[in-house]
């Protein structure tokens, strides 16, 4: 790190701390702020309110919440790091975060409708009702929690990377960040990330727009030089990279909204049209993501060098190198705040699963909120312990397996919505086959996301998660063909749906 300029060591951390602390204070006191602003409902006394924001987030809040939650700080750090290391391949996140929107547009309004009409708040709730199976409910709930903990751990790693670059003590900062996150979620519930996501997004947009405008000006020839001759990386995909590129993009897009944190954001919308509208406007974040990925090329161009173990530091180092220290501090704060918001929604999503799907029914709403708060705290503690006592590498591997297992819930959650007579046995068999093959191959391949496959005339590396999910779906269809189950309730009882849409709460805030 560059210690020659003493200002770097002073202003950057100061600005960083001011912005970080301010966001946490605003998030934690969100209840007081909402009361002051005369908000309609100002209590966090029900789980619906604490864990789902009372299901009345309109298009704007939803846009900020899902944007802040889906495009995590880890994205800001890990994507440029991947582009830095692997060149064009790192851009798989572009197709991923584009094709995810037609999928959201088509599927999520249906899921939202079922959840709202019946008061469901998790994927596991929906699956239990669809298949009338407590076993499936627990499987989906545990999978969600297991997949989200390493994700949360990686957000904390993001905060740690930033803090370390600033020269602040890592372990102490991690524990402080953890306590901050805990207070923020405990007090604010889903309202805290929903409203502070606005701050985060404004900060990230400023950071990235300034970075992608100013940095190329330092480079002779600007973008054309940057992309025409990226030193040490590739401009386009190499032979054999196309198949892993496409399958990784597809598997990530299908898995993206099965995670508890992203689904929580969707279910907290106030109407199905809020979701559709967001499917149109959320791709704006993908422009940002593409520009963020370019930072990986820029780091090469301005001569940032880190060993492979510390690729996560390239973005913080890049900012400290090219920006005045106060602005670097601001940029790094945007990354840290950007880690806090998804981490909070992840903890809330996991807590909703614990309270509603794993523990026996609670006697009243107050107890449920308390249980959820404790559960959110424990999942965050799990994430913290995961990186304090195990390594970042462990969190990354755990995250990779998380992606494999979360995709195995696709048939239960998504295919369950279709006009298919799926049976509980079929879903269970598919899940066992898909998980065993997916986890088995991932472990056998030495924790790589790809597996080499031959399909007659084509062969190449295919995303293991996608392959095992396809296998899972085939098994589900075959078993359901032999032993058919029932159609989804909303198709067999259309009159029920008609009644519930006449329910006074149907679309009161359109």
């Amino acid at each position: 790190m560059n210690h020659t300029d003493s200002h770097t060591d002073f202003w950057a951390p100061v600005v960083f701390i001011i912005f970080f602390v301010l966001t946490i204070l605003i998030g934690s006191s969100i209840q007081q702020i909402r009361t002051l602003l005369g908000s309609r409902v100002a209590t966090n006394n029900s789980l619906e309110e604490w864990g789902l924001g009372g299901r009345h987030f309109g298009p704007w809040i939803t846009w900020f919440l899902i944007g802040g939650d889906f495009y995590t700080a880890y994205t800001v750090i890990a994507l440029p790091a991947l582009v830095y290391a692997k060149g064009a391949f790192g851009f798989f996140a572009m197709p991923y975060t584009i094709i995810v929107y037609p999928f959201i547009f088509f599927v999520m309004p249906k899921l939202w409708q079922i959840a709202r009409d019946n008061g469901y708040s998790t994927a596991a709730d929906i699956v239990r009702a669809r298949f009338d199976s407590r076993t499936l409910e627990i499987i989906v709930a545990i999978t969600g929690i297991a997949a989200v903990i390493p994700y949360m751990a990686l957000q904390l790693v993001g905060i740690r990377d930033v803090v370390e670059t600033l020269g602040l003590p890592a372990v102490t900062s991690l524990i402080i960040a953890f306590l901050a996150l805990a207070a923020y979620t405990w007090l604010g519930g889903l309202h805290a990330p929903a409203l502070t996501a606005f701050i985060k997004d404004v900060m990230i947009y400023i950071t990235v727009l300034v970075a992608v405008t100013l940095i190329p000006l330092h480079i002779h020839g600007g973008y054309s030089t940057l992309l025409a001759n990226p030193s040490g990386s590739d401009t386009v995909l190499k032979a054999g990279q196309a198949l892993p590129f496409a399958t990784l993009a597809l598997s990530s897009a299908l898995a993206g909204f099965l995670y508890p944190h992203t689904l929580t954001g969707v279910l907290a919308s106030r109407s199905a049209d809020t979701i559709r509208q967001n499917a149109v406007f959320l791709p704006i974040y993908t422009i940002l993501l593409g520009l963020i990925s370019m930072l990986g090329f820029m780091a090469h161009a301005v001569g940032i060098n880190t060993d492979t173990a510390h690729h996560g530091l390239i973005v913080p180092l890049l900012f400290l190198k090219v920006f005045p220290s106060w602005f670097a501090g601001f940029c790094l704060a945007s990354i840290a705040v950007g880690a806090l918001i998804p981490a909070a929604v992840m903890a809330i999503g996991a807590a909703n699963l614990v309270t509603k799907n794993i523990l026996p029914p609670q006697k009243d709403q107050k107890t449920m909120v308390r249980t959820s708060r404790v559960a959110a705290f424990l999942t965050k503690l799990g994430a913290l312990l995961c990186i304090l006592f195990l390594t970042t590498k462990f969190a990354l591997n755990f995250q990779l397996l998380g992606c494999v297992v979360i995709l195995q819930t696709f048939p239960a959650v998504i295919m369950g919505l279709m006009r298919l007579r799926l049976s509980t046995e079929a879903i269970l068999t598919g899940w066992v086959v898909g998980s065993a093959v997916g986890v088995g191959l991932t472990l056998a391949d030495g924790l790589k996301p790809f597996h080499f496959l031959h399909f007659g005339f084509v062969s190449g590396n295919v995303s293991t998660a996608l392959f095992s999910m396809v296998l899972n779906c085939i098994v589900v269809l075959l078993v359901s063909w032999v032993r058919p189950g029932t159609l989804p309730h909303h198709m067999t009882h259309p009159h029920l749906k008609g009644e519930t849409t006449k329910f006074p709460l149907a679309e009161p805030y359109m």
């Binding site: 094709i99 037609p102 547009f105 993009a249 593409g290």
Partner: protein, 63 residues
């Protein structure tokens, strides 16, 4: 107007058929095709979703 839903498959085809855009030329202001093509699909996808939403009648839930 349900057939409009099929338009939603376009981004999948356009972006998952990688050999089609994995090339440097034609460049746009010096930016290789690989990158600007992917960026171009962001507004295109939004537009497609908007068309399907507004004209496909899916805002009045299928019954």
């Amino acid at each position: 107007m349900k057939f409009l839903n099929w338009l939603l498959l376009l981004p999948f085809i356009a972006l998952l058929w990688v050999p089609f855009y994995n090339r440097v030329t034609p460049t746009l202001c010096g930016i290789p095709f690989f990158y600007w093509y992917q960026f171009a699909w962001i507004p295109l996808t939004s537009l497609i979703i908007w068309i399907v939403w507004k004209m496909g009648g899916s805002n009045h839930e299928s019954h």
